[in-house]
Amino acid sequence: MATDSIQEQFLELIKENNGIIHKVCHLYCHSTQNRQDLFQEILLQLWKAFPKFRNESKISTWMYRIALNTAISDFRKQQRRIGTVDGALPESAGLYDHDLIEQKERLVVLQRAVNHLSDIEKALVMLYLEEKDYHEMEEVLGIKQANLRVKMSRIKEKLRRQVEQM
């Protein structure tokens, strides 16, 4: 009975926040197989950690931590992740549906630029794109806010230069 209740709560949690897991998988894995493997691994880690979750932090913060920790420090999968750098970010079906070739090209260039970032920089970019404030970024990554601001401006500059070169 207790297990059923936990399963029910966990199912709700995943249904409401599965976008977090998908985004992390898309950002760190380049092949469908690797994405599926990472998705399963994150799900397993979430399941293991779920009974210990005490609402001390926001549920999204907790999920980002687990998803990013799994993606970043899992070196076994890292070796298999080497491959094409295209398509690591979720594709925007809306943009592709329209005949906006210029926009599509711009997006591909940006995707490539993001994929050239380090694992830590990718995590930062993802939290930025998710419109997390610096306090929450610090809660997830453990990097001081002042340092985060510096890093963020460096990343923006890096992306700008990479886009120019492409």
Partner: protein, 207 residues
């Protein structure tokens, strides 16, 4: 600005994200998923290592108990002692692996914890692996002594037991040193790259 543009795309993509079909049945199957994480892999390998070592040790111990009319049963006891030592070694390594990583912690703390624990794990691996060489050599020395086994009769006749003991000590020292460097190379091959990766990630976070 590039990132601002990407933010719009990201938002749009989030709304059209793949929908995962996760029902009660799938959730009940999650505990059975075979983890592909580094630590889980290491724990599985460690367990297989324990099973293989214990199986071999038991077989060898039984062989020496039964064979040679029980003349070499000391060898069996030595192997049983080795098995006990290996169980302690397994326990310590498994404990370190259990402590390696905290997925719900901040990314930086988790990386630091993983690095510190992995370095402890590697030290234990290196220490135990190197210690094995002199322990085995000491065991054979004691066995030769008590069983009056003379390996080099000519040397024994000439200089007595001292010459042999000194030569044995020299050989043990060389063997231990070679074994240490072999172990170090192997441990570095196994975990060196990951330790370096963790260090560089932490350095990047602190810069």
């Amino acid at each position: 600005m590039e990132l601002e543009y990407l933010k719009e795309v990201w938002k749009e993509a989030a709304n059209q994200k793949e929908i995962i079909v996760l029902g009660r049945e799938e959730v009940s199957e999650i505990p059975a998923i075979r983890s592909q994480s580094l630590v889980s892999g290491m724990r599985r390998n460690l367990f297989y290592e324990l099973v293989i070592v214990l199986s071999c040790v038991v077989a060898i111990a039984v062989f020496y108990f039964i064979s040679f009319g029980g003349m070499l049963k000391e060898v069996s006891w030595a192997y049983i002692l080795l098995a006990v030592a290996f169980i302690i070694y397994y326990y310590k390594k498994n404990k370190l692996l259990k402590a390696m990583g905290c997925p719900a912690c901040m990314v930086k703390s988790n990386l630091r914890l993983q690095l510190v624990t992995l370095e402890k794990y590697v030290r234990l691996y290196l220490l135990a692996g190197t210690a094995l060489a002199p322990v085995v050599m000491l065991f054979f020395y004691i066995l030769f002594y008590y069983k009056h086994i003379v390996l080099f009769p000519a040397m024994h006749a000439k200089g007595g037991g001292i010459g042999f003991t000194l030569l044995y000590l020299l050989f043990t020292s060389i063997f231990t040193i070679v074994f240490y460097f072999l172990n170090r190379w192997y441990v570095n091959r196994l975990y060196g790259r990951h330790i370096q990766k963790l260090k560089s990630l932490l350095q990047e976070m602190e810069e």
